[in-house]
């Protein structure tokens, strides 16, 4: 190619780039203006903590029936679909055997009662979450204000790195449009779309209006929720006075869900 033509093309390219910068700068200026006028704040009733934590008193649950209302409450208000195909299953909170919930912790001969009893499992809202480390877009993140590990469904690209990273199998993926499989839609809460990952959000939307998580509210006192770093909190009181375990503690993720066995 002849060199003057090349030069002209280069100049054209550069000026196009230059022109495209201006709207961006304008946008920044406008945003600053808008911030000056309107304000954003927390709700007055919102509950706050340094790190939300949950204590599950496993002694209070004997069978699946005892857990059903909790799971039902959660899945109902969060529009969690019921998919028949096991591969497409979506769950935020569910139960499993002791040796599945706590692999490596089950002794060869276990108390009959522990072996038979189901155990509640959900996202641990780890203090050092590997899923957050793995996410390439910060679509899953640890909220600085209260330590909840949250999903931004608008941003998730569906790469499922977080699912590989989670040692607790807490995450589900929308393998298809979930809407047709939601029996009764809670109109206050959004559904999800196909192609994004979802999981328990510790009921961030309820905490914002001063309510405890749905499973805790439905548990009749068997689940306790509170601030892990407030020495006077109810969860700390329970941890202090009972022997508690956490799932896969050796991995160093620091789960925030404690179990009284």
């Amino acid at each position: 190619m002849d060199s003057s033509r090349r030069r002209v093309l280069q100049l054209l390219g550069l000026s196009a780039l230059g022109l495209s910068v201006k709207p961006v700068l304008n946008a920044f200026a406008e945003e600053a203006e808008q911030q000056a006028q309107a304000q954003i704040k927390r709700g007055e009733n919102a509950l706050s903590a340094q790190q939300w934590a949950m204590v599950v008193d496993t002694r209070a649950f004997e069978s699946e029936d005892d857990f059903a209302p909790l799971i039902e409450a959660c899945h109902k208000i969060h529009n969690v679909p019921v998919l028949e195909n096991k591969r497409h299953e979506i769950k935020w909170i569910w139960t499993d055997h002791f040796h599945n919930a706590f692999p490596g912790k089950a002794a060869r001969f276990l108390s009959e009662e522990v072996e038979k009893r189901p155990f509640l499992v959900l996202c641990n809202h780890c203090e050092n979450p590997p899923c957050v480390r793995a996410c390439p877009t910060k679509a899953t993140f640890k909220r600085e204000s209260d330590g909840i590990v949250l999903m931004d469904f608008h941003r998730c690209i569906g790469c499922r790195f977080c699912m590989a990273a989670c040692p607790f199998g807490a995450r589900s993926f929308n393998f298809r449009d979930p809407r047709p499989f939601i029996k009764e839609t809670n109109k206050q809460f959004p559904t999800r779309m196909k192609g994004v990952v979802e999981k328990c959000n510790f009921c961030a939307e309820r905490l914002a209006v001063g309510q405890l998580p749905a499973c805790v509210a439905a548990s009749d006192g068997a689940l306790t929720f509170g601030d892990l770093y407030d020495p006077a909190s109810e969860v700390r009181e329970l941890i202090r006075t009972n022997f508690t375990i956490r799932r896969k503690q050796t991995l160093g993720t620091e789960p925030s869900v404690y179990y009284i066995v």
Partner: protein, 385 residues
């Protein structure tokens, strides 16, 4: 030089049309996947990655394997490889294009892929993987194209290319290292959590990449008047021989650590793959086949008598390519996800639509590869004439 890619024999056009047909079929199935969601695949809550990511991982290896012709020529001045470096670079381009496409078809929300750059996240290995893969693609396009153009014009390539060529060598290592880091840094995935994963990936890469190159060289010699050369093919074969030995050695190191320590979280995945776990073992025949293929590959490439027979060598290269594909593709991903973190065994079996899409991506890679090799061979023929 692009004109060389569109002037070809009937056979060339026939081959390209065939590839386009496979791409078209794959694309149609992909449109279905885009509409329905990833539910048309065999993936599940437990095996959240599968065939796409397996092929991606394997092809990163093939791309990195290209460096095995670049390094001896540019660093050790091994003149014989001067003739074939372009083939290594062009193979890398085609492979990286396949890798990127496999990532794209694996995404649940592909139209949001630019979020990776909009919200750059340096603590995510996937972020680095996109950077190193695109960098490697760019490096190989720039280097390969300019060096070939210089050869066509019978001049020495531009001086500024030299630093880029040197950069491309560690960069090739980096793409596969970062890809291994995707897996080996995840707590609670015992199968992958081993420091030898990146070295193992590299050794398998340096076997499968050059093995494919040997096959491609043999094909080029048949279909064109350009002969990549017997010495070149033999040198590549020796690289394959060493690399596949190291690969099997690394694998055995892993087997020792896992079975001597007897730690269940690490051992159960191996058990699942090689003997089955809780009565489930879809991968058992595949894994033993892979091991057998690699061992036969070692025997045929290490033994000078068989290696020097190009017919036998071709067979050996096919075996090694397949063996490493099963080992690093199929087994590496499915094995890492089974049993799942809660110790349930839910097997992952790829579905037909998933395989069709994957075939489409492979066909696209071979389309790019055929066009690029057509150009390279065309230039070589021109220069010789």
């Amino acid at each position: 030089m692009l004109e060389l890619a569109i002037k070809g024999s009937k056979r060339y056009y026939g081959w390209m049309t065939f590839l386009l047909a496979v791409i078209g079929a794959g694309f149609l199935v992909y449109l279905w996947q885009l509409d329905f969601g990833l539910g048309i695949t065999g993936l599940s809550r437990d095996a959240s990655w599968g065939f796409y990511i397996a092929n991606f991982t394997f092809l990163v290896g093939v791309a990195a394997g290209g460096v095995m012709v670049v390094l001896p020529y540019y660093l050790h001045d091994y003149k014989a490889f001067g003739k074939v470096t372009i083939l290594g670079e062009f193979l890398a381009i085609a492979s990286v294009i396949m890798c990127i496409t496999f990532i794209l078809v694996d995404l649940g929300q592909p139209m949001r892929v630019f979020n990776v750059f909009l919200y750059p996240t340096p603590n995510s290995v996937l972020f680095w993987d996109t950077i190193v893969l695109q960098g490697y693609l760019l490096l190989n396009i720039i280097i390969g194209w300019n060096v070939l153009e210089a050869e066509r014009n019978n001049v020495h390539y531009q001086r500024w290319l030299k630093p880029l060529i040197y950069l491309s060598i560690p960069w090739a290592i980096s793409i596969h290292t970062v890809t291994a880091y995707l897996y080996c840094g995840l707590p609670g995935r015992g199968f992958w959590m081993t420091a030898i994963l990146a070295p193992r990936f590299l050794s398998s890469a340096f076997a499968s990449g050059p093995a494919l190159l040997v096959l491609l060289c043999l094909i080029i010699r048949r279909v064109s008047s350009f002969d990549p050369g017997r010495e070149q093919i033999q040198s590549l074969a020796k690289i394959v021989a060493y690399a596949i030995c190291v690969n099997v050695f690394f694998f055995l190191c892993e087997v020792f650590v896992v079975f001597y320590s007897q730690i269940p979280e690490h051992m159960d995945h191996f058990k699942y793959l090689f003997v089955g776990l809780y009565g489930k073992g879809a991968y058992v025949p595949w894994m033993w086949a892979s091991l057998t293929l690699m061992v036969i590959g070692i025997i045929l490439t290490v033994n000078p008598l068989t290696r020097k027979n190009e017919g036998v060598l071709a067979v050996a290269c096919v075996l090694i390519f397949l063996g490493t594909w099963i080992d690093k593709g199929l087994g590496m991903i499915a094995g890492g996800f089974t049993p799942n973190p809660l110790h349930h065994v839910n097997e992952y079996i790829p579905t037909l639509p998933e395989i069709m899409i994957a075939l489409g991506v492979w066909a696209m890679g071979f389309l790019v590869l055929s066009a690029l090799f057509k150009i390279a061979v065309g230039v070589k023929e021109e220069v010789r004439a």
